[in-house]
């Protein structure tokens, strides 16, 4: 099969694409996907590899690089999805990953994914990449949107101006994919030879300086194709480039044996002093003016209507003084309502299946095969039961909350929420996007912490991570609702009971938001005072979300990962709980010893020993607090006949029974209020702590995020106890 035959049969070609997923065992060529954020790189990556990298309408989601593979025709390709960047000339980690890969990873083809509706803006990066490599293909993506907005691009003109193949396409619907594959193949095999356009500095003196350095480089490293890029990087003081030059090898090229690489560096240093402080500015200006020239020639606007007028119209409404906040709160309330109402039924079902049926079944199974009682207790009453609990309480709300959230994200609404809220967050030294990571925290704090990746300023990101725990996650909602119903609703007049207990729960959540703001404020003025901060917030175009795709990826990416971690932590916790309740020392269970010792201290804070112990053992998962408290209370009091078994986790259906247990355990309204407060203000669960550590890479910040809320919680409980006492 020859190439020329196939140009006319694109459908035929698509059949030759075989997605290989992550099977990269053998490949002939490496393809890198580069481009601005939010231009469809991951969508294209998924289309090629058959994988499901998260794609979302929000700049900055692809953080590390993803790899996959596909086969086309005779050849196998490895594909690398690079983080989206606007430039390769700055110093952020994303850009470094992308730059180093294009430069040193030596991809056989770099596919530059470009937003056809914003060509001029994308050309900045394109021109930079073409400085580095001469094996590139431009994927002119989002042609459907360009068409809708009346933007026309002269594809051949663009290809001629840039000196590389340009393929118009719609990655979402795989339109243009065959041609793209064809061009990738041709460039990789050398059938198509690119002649990329090279940059020129606008000011003559500066251009001469760059040339002189380039010439000097050519004396030392003859034959290197992208010496101009090397020269530009040296004039920007790029450390890795300086090291490469001084060590005498640029990628695969060695310095001439007799030459003096140090002379190059000395010249660069001298030139940099002459150039003054503005070189980077001038370079960017030269690139953008080039981009303007090219775009001016090849982009045509059709009709009189301004592009994106619909986007702008929606924006004016959702960010208006009148409607901005009501729409925001309405949507948030809707998401919560759907979560709470929708989760009820599946939660009950799962609990029925896993706890009420599964538990006795497994227990009997163990006993019937003659397993010793302690083993059954440890594995089934301990590990299994707590994991079952966590799954049935956590899974349904998360499986509803996160997809809903992701739909809003994909539509493009979430950045507008950040936009609306930014002023408030700015006052406390934080970033508007914290509004989102906080909302995400209502679903799960660990997910909220991961979501802070969209905050690209180091200081604001730390603030968002440390304060995320103040968002009442859904593992803590059940406790709030239960205690509010049993204790607070009970003191209100009967027909107001429902409303008042609901108000109490919302009150605690709002208190959490206030704490989050106050702590952000305090952090940004104390420990995080000198940390760097750089604000930027892009409002992406609105895009109709792809419903099923979104549901699928958000379920896999957010829900299952979080759930899996929670279960992993809940298993050992369940065993510990069982051991505490069932291992006897001096005639009493271990837990009893702790409870008696802790009681006097706990009383000062308006709590009791049982509660403290429950919080200690429930560090892995907040969902376990209530069952543990019930179990320990019953055990502590030696109550008979209320629980399914001595020293086994349980929860009761009817509030009346629970109220009786609590009252017998000596609980008062004060205890309930303090437990509710403490549930809001205590250490994050172990999953979240672990996530914080992974995201910050710092034991210091992790410790702060862990202990600060406990300190605050104890303080608040003490104050309430003092006031009430």
């Amino acid at each position: 099969m020859t190439n020329s035959e196939c140009k006319s049969c694109p459908v035929h070609h698509e059949a030759h694409l075989r997605a290989l997923g992550i099977d990269m065992s053998r490949y002939d060529f490496v393809v890198a996907l580069a481009g601005n954020p939010n231009t469809g790189k991951s969508t294209l990556f998924n289309a090629l590899t058959g994988l499901r990298q998260h794609t979302g309408n929000w700049p900055g989601k692809t953080v590390a690089r993803a790899e996959g593979a596909f086969a086309f025709g005779e050849s196998r390709y490895k594909v690398v999805d690079l983080p989206g960047t606007y430039s390769l000339l700055s110093t952020s980690t994303d850009e470094e990953v992308a730059r180093d890969f294009i430069l040193f990873g030596k991809p056989d083809v770099t596919v530059i994914v470009v937003d056809a509706t914003r060509l001029q803006r994308s050309l900045n990066l394109v021109l930079q990449i073409l400085e580095i490599t001469d094996r590139a293909v431009l994927a002119l993506n989002l042609m459907d949107e360009a068409g809708r907005h009346g933007i026309e691009v002269d594809v051949r003109g663009l290809s001629k101006a840039l000196g590389v193949p340009v393929v118009p396409m719609v990655a979402r619907s795989r339109e243009g994919l065959p041609t793209l594959l064809q061009m990738i193949d041709e460039v990789a095999t050398g059938a198509y030879r690119c002649k990329p356009r090279r940059l020129k500095m606008e000011r003559r003196v500066v251009e001469e300086m760059v040339c002189s350095l380039e010439e000097k480089l050519a004396e030392v490293f003859p034959g290197v194709p992208n010496l101009r890029w090397v020269a530009l990087r040296l004039l920007e003081g790029d450390q890795s480039m300086m090291e490469a030059v001084s060590e005498g090898h640029l990628g695969a090229y060695e310095a001439l044996p007799e030459s003096e690489p140090e002379e190059v560096l000395a010249l660069a240093q001298e030139l940099r002093w002459q150039l003054g402080t503005d070189f980077h500015d001038e370079l960017m200006e030269s690139i953008f003016s080039e981009a303007a020239k090219i775009a001016g020639k090849v982009v045509r606007m059709e009709g009189k209507k301004e592009a994106f007028s619909l986007d702008r119209a929606i924006d004016r409404v959702v960010t208006s003084r009148l409607w901005g906040f009501p729409i925001m709160l309405g949507l948030l309330a809707l998401v919560f309502w759907l979560t709470i109402v929708g989760a009820n039924y599946p939660s009950a079902m799962l609990s029925g299946l896993l706890v009420e049926r599964g538990h006795p079944f497994l227990r009997d199974l163990f006993l019937s095969v003659g397993a010793p009682a302690w083993l059954t207790g440890l594995l089934i009453d301990g590990a299994y039961l707590s994991a079952a609990w966590v799954v049935s309480v956590m899974l349904p709300p998360m499986a509803i909350f996160f997809p809903l959230f992701t739909l809003l994200e994909d539509f493009g609404y979430l950045p507008r929420v950040s936009f609306n809220m930014d002023r408030l967050f700015k006052r406390v030294g934080a970033h508007g996007k914290q509004a989102l990571t906080m909302s995400m925290g209502f679903g799960c704090n660990a997910a909220g912490v991961v979501a802070t990746r969209v905050i690209d300023s180091p200081r604001e990101r730390l603030i968002a991570i440390i304060t995320n725990n103040f968002a009442l996650c859904n593992g803590r909602w059940p406790l709030q609702i239960l205690l509010a119903t049993v204790f607070i609703g009970a003191v209100a007049p009967a027909h107001w009971a429902g409303v008042i207990s609901a108000a109490a729960v919302v009150g605690v959540a709002v208190l959490g938001i206030l704490f989050s703001l106050a702590v952000s404020w305090a952090l940004s003025r104390t420990v995080l005072k000198g940390e760097a901060s750089a604000f930027s917030l892009e409002l992406p175009p609105y895009r109709p979300p792809r419903f099923w795709e979104t549901l699928y990826t958000s379920f896999i990416e957010r829900t299952l990962i979080v759930l899996w971690r929670a279960v992993v932590f809940a298993l050992p916790a369940g065993m510990v709980i069982w051991l505490l309740a069932n291992v006897h020392v001096g005639g009493l269970p271990l837990a009893e010893h702790f409870i008696r010792a802790a009681d006097p201290v706990a009383m000062i804070f308006g709590l009791n020993g049982v509660i403290l112990l429950a919080y200690l053992v429930a560090i892995p998962a907040n969902e376990l607090v209530i069952p543990t408290i019930l179990m320990l209370t019953v055990m502590h009091l030696g109550m008979e006949g209320v629980a399914p078994g001595q020293g086994v986790l349980f929860e009761l259906e009817d509030a009346q029974g629970i109220a009786e247990i609590f009252t017998a355990g000596g609980w008062t309204l004060l205890t309930a209020v303090n437990v509710m407060l403490f549930s809001l203000l205590h250490n994050p669960c172990s999953t979240t702590i672990y996530t914080i550590y992974k995201e910050t890479g710092s034991a210091k910040w992790t410790a702060l995020a862990t202990f600060l809320p406990i300190g605050l919680g104890l303080l608040v409980c003490l104050l309430v106890a003092l006031v009430a006492g």
């Binding site: 700055s90 003196v205 003081g237 500015d281 960017m284 609306n420 200081r459 940390e531 750089a534 409002l539």
Partner: protein, 333 residues
């Protein structure tokens, strides 16, 4: 009682941790700090071509003349300086030592300016402390991370790792002829009070100024479309260079903050006061001289504002918009 009495001398004379050793070490440290400061001061005199004597050094270092003599003796012992009559001169060794300290100081200032949120007026003071603590290796590694800056945030050249520094350029602001334009290439950061005043006036390296009028008592000049007054004495802390034909200047009259919603304008430049990551971010997003920008709508609280930059909506806060200078687009028709 007896053991208590024994404890006191132990506490004082205990090796390593005893008070005496600590005090000795502190003294030695202080001495080293003074020596290094003296070398720096001597280098500065040499760089500017002015002579330096014991009295001048005492003033600059804020210590007594006796102490200065003691410090100089130490420096002579190590062949770092030599004296010719009243004048104190650096030896080659001394010069390279001084350049090392200056490099550390200026790299640290660049770090503070670009990578932290420290206030501008604190940079110099903090760098003065750190310059005696950091090793050259640490500083070179830091410089690498910062993109090996060759100028510090005040516009001073930073000595290279091999100890080179370019010849000084420019002239004090008061030498700029009336009616002529010049570019500020340096703001002296010592003494700090004067520097703080210059910063408060909004001066920064790279700014274009035009001398309007000058006499013995004051200089009257224009910068950013504003008229400023300065005492001639203070003006020696501002170094300028005459503006050349091909120089890039932007007339920073209008800030983006003042542009009404819906008016498209052309970016003239970003103020030097916006640095580091923040500055690069803005440019990467397309806020670069020559590109167009248009305020679209504001958040309910009045801030931030969304701008159209090359077809994308970018939200900026007030303190960012303030630093972006723009030109109105002339409507030909």
């Amino acid at each position: 009682m007896l053991s208590g009495l024994l404890l006191v001398p132990l506490l004082v004379f205990m090796p390593e941790k005893g008070l005496w050793t600590r005090w000795r070490r502190r003294r030695q440290n202080m001495l080293r700090v003074w020596m290094e400061d003296a070398l720096k001061a001597l280098y500065n005199c040499e760089y500017k071509g002015i002579s330096c004597d014991v009295g001048g050094l005492a003033g600059r270092l804020g210590i007594s003349q006796d102490r200065v003599l003691q410090v100089l003796q130490k420096l002579r012992d190590q062949s770092l300086v030599k004296t010719e009559g009243e004048q104190v001169l650096l030896t080659r060794l001394g010069r390279s030592y001084a350049l090392r300290i200056i490099r550390i100081h200026r790299i640290w200032e660049s770090y503070l300016a670009n990578e932290t949120g420290m206030a501008e007026t604190d940079w110099h003071r903090l760098a003065d402390l750190r310059e005696h603590e950091l090793s050259m290796e640490e500083v070179n590694a830091l410089a690498g991370r910062l993109g090996n800056p060759v100028f510090d945030p005040h516009g001073d050249p930073i000595p290279s790792a091999t100890g080179e520094l370019p010849r000084p350029k420019g002239m004090p602001l008061r030498d700029l002829p009336e009616g002529k334009e010049g570019i500020i290439i340096h703001l002296e950061d010592e003494p700090p009070e004067v520097y703080a005043q210059l910063v408060a006036m909004g001066l920064y390296p790279g700014m274009v100024v035009r001398m309007l009028e000058k006499d013995d008592k004051r200089l009257r000049f224009e910068a950013h479309g504003e008229e400023l007054l300065l005492a001639p004495l203070l003006s020696s802390n501002v170094t300028v260079r005459a503006l050349e034909e091909e120089d890039r200047v932007f007339d920073a009259g209008l800030s983006l903050l003042e542009v009404p919603l819906g008016e498209e304008v052309e970016v003239a430049g970003i103020s030097r006061a916006c640095r580091g990551q923040q500055r690069r971010r803005l440019m990467d997003l397309g806020i670069v001289r020559g590109n167009h920008i248009k305020p679209l709508f504001r958040a309910p609280g009045g801030e931030p504002t969304a701008y159209d930059v090359l077809g994308a909506s970018i939200a900026l806060r007030e303190e960012q918009a303030k630093h972006i200078f723009v030109k109105r687009i002339q409507n030909d028709k």
